[in-house]
Amino acid sequence: FDMESDQPIRVNADSARLDDGQGIATYTGDVEMTQGQTNLTADKVVLYRDESGVSRIEATGQPAHYRQPATEGQGETDARALTITWSAAENRVTFEREAVIEQDGNLFRGDVIHYDSAERVVTAEGAADAGEGSGRVEMVIQPRNRTSNSPSNPDRQDTDGSSQSQ
């Protein structure tokens, strides 16, 4: 979500709990948040506000789903995870647990994926302790304009640890 934009952030939910003292609003039940074409759906969304406005958004779902529309030169970003966190200070979205991001036909899968929504840079990490997640990062990157490579066998990279793509 773009805090510089003059487009409002709209939230719809079944119910809500507003803690006026802490500046926290918790929306539960079929929650949908939109700003222009950017869209987030989840079972529960916690919205933190400070003097300057919305500072942090935490969404949880089975999975929570985040979509950012295509812009010039960049395709749509479609991402899912059990937990999606957006921070205004870092202008970054973090996908945790069963995180999957699809962008321009490329696919990133990992336990933790950071997505810089301004620069559109994806950083994926495997889980530190391999107990819960697979501990591995998987990326499927579509070749650019190379006819020899059959689409059925795109470049596929499996790494353990972190990797970065633009």
Partner: protein
């Protein structure tokens, strides 16, 4: 000169007689009218309350003597049989604990049920509250109930909440005055203006 010669003149006696007849007629006409003064009856009003206060002020304290609620109304009527007090255009201030900013409450009409310590507000209900950072939070609805005992405010009606950066609407709500927490029951729609 004594008054005796004056009474011997015929026109004086006729005049006196006429005056007496008029006075008698006036007294007869007055006697079957009720003697209740008309301005008191109109002041009391058609609903004939047991007691009423014009431009009154109603204060409520907790057990430690701390002022918790202050109601002001141009007309307060009290009905003993129903233990009920009806207030026209009430303007209330609810004092939060621990120095929390107060809530200002206003409506077209308010009914205070003494037995349950409840206040029912109806008609253009507006609740204004200084929220965190001093941005006023305004809640509007058509009916609202305030429970003085557990310090809650609730309604089943549609509500709208506005402050400097957001507008939230919902149907049904409950708020805990001292904890500054508010729950919206259903059909919640929020709109935030980023960085406004």
């Amino acid at each position: 000169m004594s008054a005796q010669p004056l009474f011997n003149r015929p026109w004086v006696r006729t005049l006196g007689l006429a005056g007496t007849i008029v006075a008698l007629f006036f007294l007869l006409w007055q006697s079957d009218e009720p003697t209740v003064p008309t301005d008191a009856a109109s002041l009391r009003g058609e609903s004939e309350p047991d007691g009423f206060v014009v431009n009154g002020l109603y204060l409520s304290y907790d057990e430690t003597g701390r002022l918790t609620t202050r109601f002001r109304s141009p007309r307060i009527e009290q009905f003993e049989s129903r233990s009920e007090t009806v207030m026209k255009s009430p303007r209330a201030t609810l004092f939060g604990e621990g120095g929390n900013p107060p809530w200002q409450v206003q409506a077209t009409e308010g009914r205070f049920l003494e037995a349950e310590d409840l206040v029912h507000l109806t008609g253009d209900v507006k609740v204004i509250r200084e929220a965190e950072g001093g941005r006023p939070l305004t809640l509007t609805t058509t009916a609202l109930t305030m429970n003085n005992r557990d310090r809650t405010v609730y309604t089943d009606e549609p509500v709208a909440l506005t402050d400097a950066v957001s507008l939230t609407t919902a149907t049904g709500m409950k708020a805990w005055i001292d904890d500054r927490i508010l729950e919206l029951d259903s059909q919640v729609e929020g709109r935030y203006e980023p960085g406004k």
